[in-house]
């Protein structure tokens, strides 16, 4: 018996097998910690620069948040950029939400299974992979110069709206798909049409998921820089008066500061990044709160 097993497993070196498994586990564990370490380094670097900016470069946080901006480093502020970014997000939300949710409803509820629908779906996947700077080029040629709107908030918002549209559509589709079919059939059984069912039954059930997805998409939009640079959202040091005014948004202002050689500007950029990340964190917090609050009800 024992000689038989020896022959059968004679070529297996159990010690080596153990070692190999241990080494491999160590290797992939180290690799998966790489991302974590890099995230920690990134946050640490920004917080250190933020702290140094406040202490050594005497950046006063209150002044920073209430001054509109300046070319002079000691007078530079972020107020104009913050207000411009808030304006951008509001206009972007208005432009992308209804069309995005409408597309999702069509694709999930109405669309027949044919080639046109497959084309729309495939195109959506492709749009999600188009580099953000290309959306900037589209807005630059078509809206800023094509119909001559100039470098205004509305043009930046159009670029951002087109950019986040695929994200909103996919998130809304998932929210609609999560509504059980029994709910729809119950509505049909009472004699409701498809549209009545969608409006009064499906949408109310799916709206928390749709809102969560939309807020996450807008949190991404507020940090987008490249499309805004392409349409000329740069070098404006004041609060925009409205959606038809010129502006410089938070990320483009951070870029302008980070690209300066002066250490003072670099630290201004770090303070700006902390403000930007805080606002993004709040938006993500609202989205997660919404998700958790309504998750159990549906």
């Amino acid at each position: 018996m024992s000689t038989q097993t020896d022959e059968l497993f004679g070529d297996v070196d159990l010690g080596w097998e153990h070692l190999k498994n241990r080494l491999f586990l160590g290797l992939i564990f180290a690799a998966s910690m790489f991302g974590v370490v890099m995230l920690a380094l990134l946050l640490l670097d920004i917080l250190t620069d933020f702290y140094v900016g406040l202490t050594e470069f005497n950046i006063n946080l209150v002044d920073f948040l209430t001054r509109s901006g300046s070319r002079r480093e000691e007078l530079a502020g972020f107020q104009g950029a913050i207000i411009a970014s808030v304006m951008l997000v509001i206009v972007t939300a208005f432009l992308s939400f209804f069309i995005g949710v409408g597309s999702a409803i069509y694709l999930e509820e109405y669309a027949p299974k044919n080639r046109l629908t497959r084309l729309i779906e495939a195109n959506l996947a492709n749009l999600a992979g188009v580099p953000s700077i290309v959306y900037g080029l589209l807005a630059l040629a078509a809206f800023r110069n094509g119909i001559g709107l100039g470098p205004i908030v509305l043009v930046g918002a159009i670029a951002l709206a087109l950019l986040v549209m695929p994200i909103i559509i996919v998130a809304s589709q998932e929210a609609l798909r999560a509504v059980p079919d029994g709910v729809r059939n119950g509505s049909y059984a009472t004699g409701a049409t498809k549209w009545q069912t969608i409006r009064r039954v499906v949408l109310p059930a799916a709206i928390p998921g749709i809102l969560t997805g939309t807020i996450l998409a807008l949190a991404r939009a507020i940090g987008e820089t490249a499309p805004l640079l392409m349409v000329g959202a740069l070098f404006v040091n004041r609060v925009p008066y409205g959606p038809f005014d010129r502006y410089s948004a938070m990320p483009t202002q951070i870029y302008a500061w980070a690209a300066e050689p002066s250490q003072h500007f670099i630290h201004l950029a770090a303070v700006g990044i902390v403000v930007l990340l805080t606002i993004m964190l709040c938006m993500n917090g609202v989205a997660i709160y919404l998700r958790n609050k309504y998750e159990t009800e549906v």
Partner: protein, 331 residues
């Protein structure tokens, strides 16, 4: 009655009143319009890039030619695709895209060497090895990494990776004085930011591999190492490839991080400590200056943009193809 076919056989849709039926049809048309708008966006991107790039090569946009504008060869395709100097805004202009195409490809390949091995290993660890507790912490951490805006990565590169990590090492090992920007910094930062993309999609693919396959291998005496490398990875290979392609496509189109990391000096170099320029960085440098509409610099934006768009389009189509294969396998 309703004109559309009933998706659920056996359930008769309510007819409602005539007005209700009309409202339903109206809603359907409006919603279809919304969905069609997304297709229109793609067509608009393609049209705008092609139309404006035409003025770079032929001296007039296609739409202007239709209105009778004359054409003149400003930049030849031969110069554009084979020239080795890129300086459309220089006093003696040169229009060879190779240096900035090299910049983009070098950053992309370098980033892939970071994100592909580390992302795959992370996915394997989360999917096959980690305890549920570790998994619950590791996945959201990687999601945070994916959610950080690219401008912040750019700041990380210019304020930390290049001066603190790369600078001293280059100085100590090779005696090279690294400037504000370097190719290596661009490769690293883009690699780091695409790790979560590789890891999350690869992990999904690995999770989709049925446990029966794993158990079959265990029954044959395989160790976890064998199962991971010889069963899970081959079974999930098309999903894993799809994640690689997505990461590469993202790296090609990456703008802010790469601009702040690798710089604005268009040259073909084998030295990773040199400053280079990617196609996207060129576009940013043009946007910073105020190049007027109609100048060759303005037109060059769209020629470069078109090349960039086509490169990512090919990647996206490849990704779509791999994803469809991966869905067919185990669903």
């Amino acid at each position: 009655m309703s004109t559309e076919t009933n998706p659920e056989p056996g359930i008769t849709r309510g007819s409602g009143t005539q007005a209700d039926q009309e409202a339903n049809q109206r809603a359907r048309r409006v919603l279809f319009g919304c969905a069609a708008l997304t297709v229109l966006t793609t067509l608009a991107i393609f049209f705008v890039l092609l139309d404006n790039a035409a003025s770079y090569f032929f001296g007039a946009r296609f739409t202007e030619m239709l209105l009778g504008a004359g054409t003149e060869r400003t930049v030849t395709f031969t110069e554009f695709f084979t020239g080795t100097r890129w300086a459309p805004d220089h006093a003696t202009p040169a229009h060879g895209i190779l240096p900035i195409a090299f910049g983009t490809l070098a950053v992309t390949v370098g980033a892939a060497f970071v994100s592909i091995p580390i992302g795959t290993a992370t996915a394997l660890y989360i999917s096959e090895y980690s305890s549920p507790g570790v998994r619950r912490k590791l996945k959201p951490t990687l999601e945070v990494l994916a959610g950080i805006p690219t401008i912040v990565y750019g700041y990380f590169a210019i304020a930390f990776i290049n001066p603190v990590l790369i600078g001293p090492i280059a100085d100590a090992l090779f005696g090279i004085n690294v400037g504000r920007y370097s190719l290596l910094s661009g490769m690293l930062v883009v690699g780091i930011m695409t790790i979560p993309m590789v890891s999350s999609i690869s992990e999904d693919a690995m999770q989709a591999v049925p446990d029966d396959l794993r158990n079959g291998a265990y029954a044959l005496g395989a160790t976890k190492y064998d199962v991971s490398l010889s069963v899970v990875i081959p079974a999930a290979v098309s999903g894993i490839f799809a994640s690689y392609i997505l990461a590469v496509s993202r790296a090609i189109g990456e703008t802010m991080a790469v601009t702040l990391a690798a710089g604005f000096n268009a040259n073909i170099t084998a030295n990773p400590f040199d400053e280079i320029m990617t196609m996207t960085a060129y576009m940013v440098s043009m946007a910073r200056g105020t190049s007027a509409v109609g100048t060759v610099q303005y037109q060059s934006l769209f020629a470069v943009g078109l090349v960039l768009f086509l490169m990512t389009l090919v990647m996206n189509l490849l990704n779509d193809w791999f994803k469809r294969r991966f869905q067919e396998e185990y669903q």
